[in-house]
């Protein structure tokens, strides 16, 4: 089937909905999403959305910008950090006007609380910058934006799986997507295309990410010739529920929760004297890793530490941290009122992704050459506003700030441009992919998809996570080559067309293998430690050689063609050693 829209937005999470809302009513927009919009992963975000409102104590956007740049270990493009910090204030007010039920101060203003890495006066001490709705801020943002979508009659194509990005004559002209209900391939011909397709946490064994987070948008762009940026910068959130990976928000520590090792020591104090448990996530993950390495992990396998909120009292726990405590009780049968909750670092967030400028326009190289008609926002994009490590509460604000900018710029593009034709055989690549998964039940295909996926997840968790070195990274890369080979023989036993999720999972596996490969290769070639990318064989940050973004390009045979480097946009904050 063929559809023609001025703009197509792929992804109906916070960034996608925000982009669509800029255009609806002014242009013909369609939103394509692999899930129903309210199921998007934005809804899982807990802790908060930050802006220098200064509602409970003094705050300034310059301080927020500094925290974001330093938090990103100076890989953050400073123009992006400035846009984020400045625009954030208006965006939060706008969300409240849309109806978001923020928690309130006694005066009735939007309440704010402390969060990791956010400081007053350029690092003096923690500052109350995070606005929140209990511990389900993401849920409320997703609901509110979806509700605005309903109010404004946005057109949704629900449960459509992105297959391919279409480029013609140097311009992006749309996408193809499979209707999951029927198995049919659809072409969406558009002037502007916005990708807001989220991350790829499912490449790792222990992750906070939903099953749907498989990097579909990133891989489609990559396969169409768009480079991916900073893929080695992948964040491990320190407090994932042990073994399962479900996120226990940083908000717990923002409210006063602390981490203890098997000896009962508040170990963060030792590593980060000023911010302690509220040091940025990449650092806290490393503190935990170090404690486990040195034998101070708890439990029979000594492979977790404890998050304590019991000292905060029932009232605070019930009012501020209800969902988090529910997780501990439901999944581990642990009572947070009285016990410490077992936690471990969990694969959480992609700082890297599709490279864009601060207006959401996708760029193709280190010079910033724009690919007309193609935009990206949210976790899928890499502006880069998070650099080598993202601060908590900066993702939700990234969604609304850059989702809005991408939508507004796409709208302007629509006004200024006509449609470009689709190329001949624009469904060719998609049909090849579909044929591959639809012929998965002939005798020669014997590999079990779940086994390939599990091996990938295990190798990534053990070798491409919190602490890395050349040996581990090379081991993982070689394993991924082997898995990609085995994937060509993957079995797909379900031959029904309608709602075929086995076919879907096979397509997602193909995407994840490529995401894992570019992540591992980027990590291997970045011979330094910076932010979330920590190398035991290159412990120091090397601004001389690596104050730059990694750009990875794909070859026609499906392997990596080359890595190039794009200089970081510097600004008012000079790169310094990152201490808290």
């Amino acid at each position: 089937m063929y559809h023609k829209y001025d703009a197509v937005v792929v992804g109906a999470g916070g960034a996608g909905l925000m982009a669509a809302l800029q255009m609806v009513g002014k242009a013909n927009v369609a939103v394509i999403t692999k899930l129903y919009p309210s199921r998007s992963h934005t809804g899982a975000a807990q802790g908060g959305i930050c802006a220098a409102l200064g509602n409970t104590e003094e705050d300034h956007w310059e301080w927020h910008m500094f925290d974001t740049v330093k938090g990103g270990d100076y890989l953050t493009d400073q123009d992006a950090a400035e846009v984020l910090a400045r625009d954030a204030i208006e965006r939060i007010i706008e969300l409240e006007h849309m109806g978001l039920p923020f928690n309130r101060t006694p005066e009735g203003k939007i309440d704010q609380r402390r969060f990791g890495g956010h400081t007053r006066n350029y690092g003096e001490g923690p500052v109350r910058r995070s606005c929140f709705a209990a511990d389900r801020t993401g849920h409320m943002i997703l609901q509110t934006l979806y509700q605005q979508g309903i109010k404004n009659n946005v057109t949704f194509f629900n449960e459509f799986h992105l297959m391919d990005l279409i480029i013609n004559n140097g311009r992006c002209v749309g996408v193809t997507a499979m209707d999951i209900k029927t198995g049919e391939l659809h072409t969406f011909h558009s002037k502007a295309t916005v990708f807001a397709t989220g991350g790829y946490g499912r490449c790792w064994r222990v992750t906070s990410n939903a099953h749907a987070c498989t990097g579909d948008g990133m891989v489609s762009a990559y396969r169409a010739g768009v480079p991916l940026m900073d893929m080695e910068m992948y964040q491990f959130h320190p407090t994932g529920l042990y073994r399962i990976g479900i996120l226990l928000s940083e908000a717990a520590r923002g409210e006063g929760g602390i981490l203890r090792n098997s000896e009962g020591e508040r170990f963060c104090e030792r590593y980060a004297p000023t911010l302690k448990d509220l040091a940025p996530r990449d650092m806290v993950s490393r503190f935990i890793y170090q404690e486990l390495r040195e034998g101070r992990g708890a439990g029979p396998n000594k492979d977790y530490v404890y998050l304590h909120v019991d000292h905060l009292g029932k009232e605070v726990i019930d009012a501020k941290l209800p969902d988090i405590t529910d997780f501990a009780r439901t999944y581990l049968h642990v009572e947070p009122y009285t016990e410490g909750v077992p936690i471990q670092p969990t694969a959480h967030y992609a700082m890297g992704g599709i490279p864009t400028d601060v207006n959401g326009r996708v760029i193709m190289d280190e010079k910033g050459t724009v690919l007309p008609g193609f935009y990206a926002a949210g976790e899928t994009a890499c502006v880069s506003v998070h650099g080598a490590n993202r601060l908590g509460t900066n993702s939700l604000v990234d969604l609304v700030v850059f989702g809005r900018r991408a939508g507004q710029n796409a709208l302007q593009f629509i006004k200024d441009n006509d449609f470009e034709a689709l190329p001949t055989n624009h469904e060719g690549r998609s049909n090849d992919l579909l044929r591959f998964v639809e012929t998965g039940n002939d005798g020669s295909r014997k590999e079990n998809a779940a086994n390939i996926r599990k091996e990938m997840q295990d190798y990534m968790m053990d070798n491409v996570s919190v602490v890395r070195d050349a040996e581990k990274l090379t081991l993982a890369l070689n394993k991924l080559y082997e898995l990609k080979e085995r994937y060509t023989k993957v079995k797909v036993s379900d031959s029904t067309q309608k709602f075929n999720t086995e076919k879907l999972e096979a397509l997602e596996l193909g995407a994840m293998l490529e995401m894992a490969e570019v992540t591992t290769k980027g990590a291997l070639d970045r011979k330094e430690s910076r932010g979330a990318h920590y190398r035991e064989d290159y412990l120091k940050r090397d601004d001389q050689n690596f104050l730059a973004h990694t750009l990875v390009y794909r070859a026609d045979d499906g392997n990596i063609k080359e890595l190039r480097y794009k200089p970081v946009t510097l600004g008012r904050f000079e790169p310094k050693e990152r201490k808290y």
Partner: protein, 232 residues
């Protein structure tokens, strides 16, 4: 431990009727029922079809009947459910395939109550003020994740495809009791119709089914009172 999964199957391209299929699998007591479904799909029968995403009870994708009760498959632990687990799609929804049901009528009913803030005043330069007490009033009904477990457990919803259902009413409540909203009359106009709030028979299945612990019946009761007496 060894468990038996008895799952209702229906392939619209191959089956005339829905039928049960049994699977014997290994599971850990702390595994979620969703993990058990994944074990079946990934290692025993790739054709088993169900919706899932977040795997921790916040997205609402995997509401289904587990041993006769509507629950989220990712919030139920195998050890708590038992060694024999019967899994069926929710009642009151048309089956598309296996455990996947048609959610369109459910979302249409949600949209019919105008689930967005209605406020006709000029927007202030800063946030609208709301006291902590006012914020508390509608806190419970903000938790709805549109999973369908409540409507799918409601006998009037099963027998009457037009009934607006508990979920739509809960989401109307979220706005009606939000001090910033001015759309009470518009929503009550929808809810006071024949297939609106008064189809509720106060059975309480919805409150039992809600994975977010929302007091659904109580919220519906509060709306009925507003309608009758114009006060909460």
């Amino acid at each position: 431990m060894q468990i038996t999964m008895k799952i209702l199957r229906f392939d619209p391209e191959k089956d005339k009727k829905a039928h049960f299929q049994n699977y014997e699998i290994e599971a850990d007591p702390l595994d979620r029922v969703l993990d058990a479904l994944n074990t079946v799909k990934w290692h025993h029968d790739g054709t088993l079809t169900y919706r899932r995403s977040c795997a921790h009870g916040v997205c609402g994708s995997d509401a289904m009947r587990i041993n006769g009760r509507n629950r989220l498959a990712c919030k139920e632990l195998v050890g708590d459910v038992g060694k024999k687990i019967t899994i069926e799609p929710m009642l009151g929804f048309r089956i598309l395939r296996d455990l996947v049901v048609d959610m369109e009528p459910f979302f249409d009913k949600y949209k019919s109550i105008k689930p967005y803030l209605i406020n006709h005043e000029e927007v202030p330069a800063i946030e609208r003020f709301q006291s902590a007490e006012d914020r508390e009033i509608f806190d419970e009904t903000t938790k709805c994740i549109l999973c369908g477990a409540c409507s799918g457990s409601c006998p009037p919803y099963w027998s009457n495809s037009e009934f607006i259902g508990p979920a739509a009413i809960v989401n109307a409540h979220r706005f009606i009791f939000d001090s910033r909203d001015q759309g009470v009359d518009e929503r009550l106009a929808v809810l006071s119709q024949g297939e609106g709030v008064f189809r509720c028979r106060t059975i309480y299945n919805c409150t039992d089914a809600c994975p977010r612990g929302i007091p659904v019946t109580k919220a519906i009761e509060q709306i009925k009172r507003v309608m009758l007496y114009n006060r909460g």
